[in-house]
């Protein structure tokens, strides 16, 4: 009985840690596309990086690179979390 309870406890702690990682990454996802690429695009376009205006670059290139980084970081972080909580396969 005690064992079961402990397992329940560790499962909900695992789930909370997972949600925390998700929330952080989704925030970055939102900022890189919706904020930098859409909402603040005019303001950012006043700055340049070579031939690119920064806002335009985020909308057509940068956001996609950020998406890739998000997923590969998530894969790495979750593999680690799974091991920490002993729920890996």
């Amino acid at each position: 009985m005690n064992n079961l309870k402990q397992e329940d406890h560790s499962r909900s702690a695992y789930w909370r840690a997972n949600i925390k990682i998700l929330a952080g990454l989704l925030l970055i996802w939102f900022i890189s596309s919706f904020l930098l690429g859409i909402v603040f695009v005019k303001e950012l376009n006043q700055f340049r990086m070579g031939g690119f205006k920064i806002g335009f670059w985020f909308a057509q290139q940068g956001s996609i690179y950020v998406f890739l980084l998000i997923i590969f970081y998530y894969v790495w972080r979750m593999n680690k979390l799974d091991k920490e909580f002993d729920v890996d396969e």
Binding site: R11, V39, G51, F52, F56, Q60, Q61, F72, Y74
Partner: protein
Amino acid sequence: MDILTWTYFIVGLTFTLYIGIAIKTRASSTKEFYIAGGGVSPLANGIATAADWMSAASFISMAGLISFMGYDGSVYLMGWTGGYVLLALLLAPYLRKFGKYTVPDFVGDRYYSQTARLVAVVAAIFISFTYVAGQMRGVGIVFSRFLEVDINTGVVIGMIIVVFYAVLGGMKGITYTQVAQYCVLIFAYMVPAIFISLQLTGNPIPQLGFGGTLNDGTYLLDKVDGLLTELGFMAYTSGSKEVIDMFFITAALMVGTAGLPHVIVRFFTVPKVKDARKSAGYALLFIAILYTTAPAVGVFGIYNMITNINGQKIESLPTWVQNWQKTGLITIEDKNKDGMILYQKDKVKNELTIDKDIMVLANPEIAGLPNWVVALVASGGLAAALSTAAGLLLVISTAISRDLLKNALAPNISEKSELLYARMAAIFAVIVAGYFGVNPPGFVAEVVAFAFGLAAASFFPVIIMGIFSKRMNKEGAIAGMIIGLIFTLGYLIYFKFMNPELNNKEHWWFGISPEGIGTLGMILNFVVSIIISKFTPPPPKHIQDLVEEIRIPRGATSAIIH
């Protein structure tokens, strides 16, 4: 060799390859037919997902669409890639752990309800059919332009090829042909892009050439901004859409991507939960190669068009312009009879019309590349259309044989007859899709864009809440799906079919165009489900345990069949 011979040769070669793979990988059980036996490596699944995802429209039309929309075209770039973040983080690992074969499987089991399952089946079939009709049409168009056969003959040839590997191989056959198709299509896309980038900017990497300088030292993007404003158009790097509309369209495309059944189902095919996560990363990587190149191709294309055609004497046009005039994709009409071509925003004065598809199709000729590259682009377009069509047809056949027959109407059929029904359903689906390819209803193009809105407003919320809320019950989920679907469909039908003359900023709700309304439909779905579920009984204990179970990676049933 001339272009036509090369095209027959390369298309013939790639088709032989696809058929060869299909014969080698044919399915022998329902599990192999539905989810390729569950033993696909994350890398192979990532490549297959990318091919599945990138349709004829991505390959042929997207770059051109962006070159005419400029910054506004960013909705497609962000929308069709950002959805993979949602898939990887919120859906793929949990659905893999759930371990069944289809999206309606999940909806029906999680919401312990045949009604929920049926709503999901109808939505899956509807979304996939609207999408697949466009693909078959795309196959027909590529055939007619490059192989000089009739469009309808092209559709029929495409149907025969798809029947062959979808019906025989099921998911298993499709997966490995898609891997081959990805290689063909990405090679065909990148070769001309790299050469054009090199010619214009001196940089072989299109993503960098995009921000590079021309021979005269000005930045390409500044030059194009200047050329377009001179002709009366918007500057390339600034847009004309309202911020709220950009926001809602991007969100609808992202969420819709994550809710499309033919994409979700690919993540059932990998062995483990962690493979599902990794596989989503690979999928986005392979998609991003094309999606970060497309906006560069778009800007190279518009620059080449303007500088090669505008202000030129009609008799001294380059040969590729004359070649494409024959196909009707470039039309020139000397309205003021001065023997020169004038490209202008003003429709009365404008003498040049360019079809968006030309930006990709004519690239090899603009860059002066050898004939085999032109042929390669044709086979790339076919690979993109066929791979997407096959993935969609599989969803339709699975929805019929498994969700409708096995799980609802005739639960006692044997595995052997289920497999037979799945194959018959696939043939049926190909024939219907082919019919729509030959006789395209006028609204196919419109409807394909709707598929995203509908997926966003129906599947995405029920799946998310099915995983992240233990309290969500069948009453909430069914009400949410139905209201989300009806609202989104109603708005689309109202503005696109009933009152197309009212389809403008002044009449849209909150300035949201029909393309972006799926986002509002999704929000409505969430709100309705949550409210209804508060007033109705919680799901039974075994369902709450199921939710508990899919949240933990360990113990994913080994799906590999030896």
